[in-house]
Symmetry: C2
Subunit: 199 residues, 2 copies
Amino acid sequence: MSKGRLFILSGPSGSGKDTILGGVFQRLPEVRFSISCVSRPMRPGEQEGDKYHFVSREEFEQMIAEDGLLEHNCYVGNYYGTPKKPVEEAIRDGADMIVEIDVNGADQIRAKTENTVSIFILPPSVAVLRERLINRGSESPDKVEQRMKEALVEISRASDYDYIVVNDRLEDAIDDVVRIIEADRLSKERFDFANYGND
Amino acid sequence: MSKGRLFILSGPSGSGKDTILGGVFQRLPEVRFSISCVSRPMRPGEQEGDKYHFVSREEFEQMIAEDGLLEHNCYVGNYYGTPKKPVEEAIRDGADMIVEIDVNGADQIRAKTENTVSIFILPPSVAVLRERLINRGSESPDKVEQRMKEALVEISRASDYDYIVVNDRLEDAIDDVVRIIEADRLSKERFDFANYGND
């Protein structure tokens, strides 16, 4: 059986990475998604196991103590983390798994996981990113500038990633990520030499 | 301007790599093909600059002396080699170039060229390879066994390559090679960070 792969996907707020991911899972429904654990309460409209597993603070700290997370951080007093077990299972099963994470989380995951493949989603330009954040209309000018600052810090780390996808046209960006995943399935590390020609 | 890439393509006799290559150039006509230099005389049906550049023995030895080749070898008293200049031009131009070569030539090229991407074409199984060689009908049983021996030596080196493509169905194998080339264009090493967002 060939080995699976953990794909790390990052990109600044406004890069469109959530929409791209939606398109990728439509095209490649067999790819698994890494569901984060969080210690914050569920918000209206959220569902357990959809994007998050909701656990108590104590359960989360237990996971940290048992080395059950590939990465975690604390944000506004709540824990967020990536459970290790589903990733190990995917790799063992020969499956692809995507984890969506910021640049710091990506660093932690790379340090704990062998042979990850990482993809950074860039907006077409910094000017377009600002426009997109303004056009959301939901945030004050101050908040937009703060997000821009955070985005620039993220973008400055793009060269840590294996692949760069510029999200100019959404459909092209989805094609690009699909292409990266499909080409990776042909990589030497994932080829089952032991069973070659045994069909 | 982004950098180009040299793709090394290898595979045993009977793996179908020539037919795959034909399909790849049809799909991606912008990809360049590395034309070998040979010191043997032209055969009927061959054309200068099609698959080979025909040069004299003296010209070939001059190229060796001037370090003008990425690899070369001597076979039945004739020289065969890969000129360095067209490869350097392709990388500088941001283009893709494919060189078709055996496992030993691939070793020499990797030693002289940075950041190559290599692809090995495998037949579906060793049994199928033998069938294909027999069904060609052009070779004696002895010759078939000799080719099988050579093929097994080549196959044993497949794990030196970045990607493995099993040529079970021709169209799938062409898709696979195209995918590898297209995904590689998104790799970090080829991204033009200096001109990002400058359109």
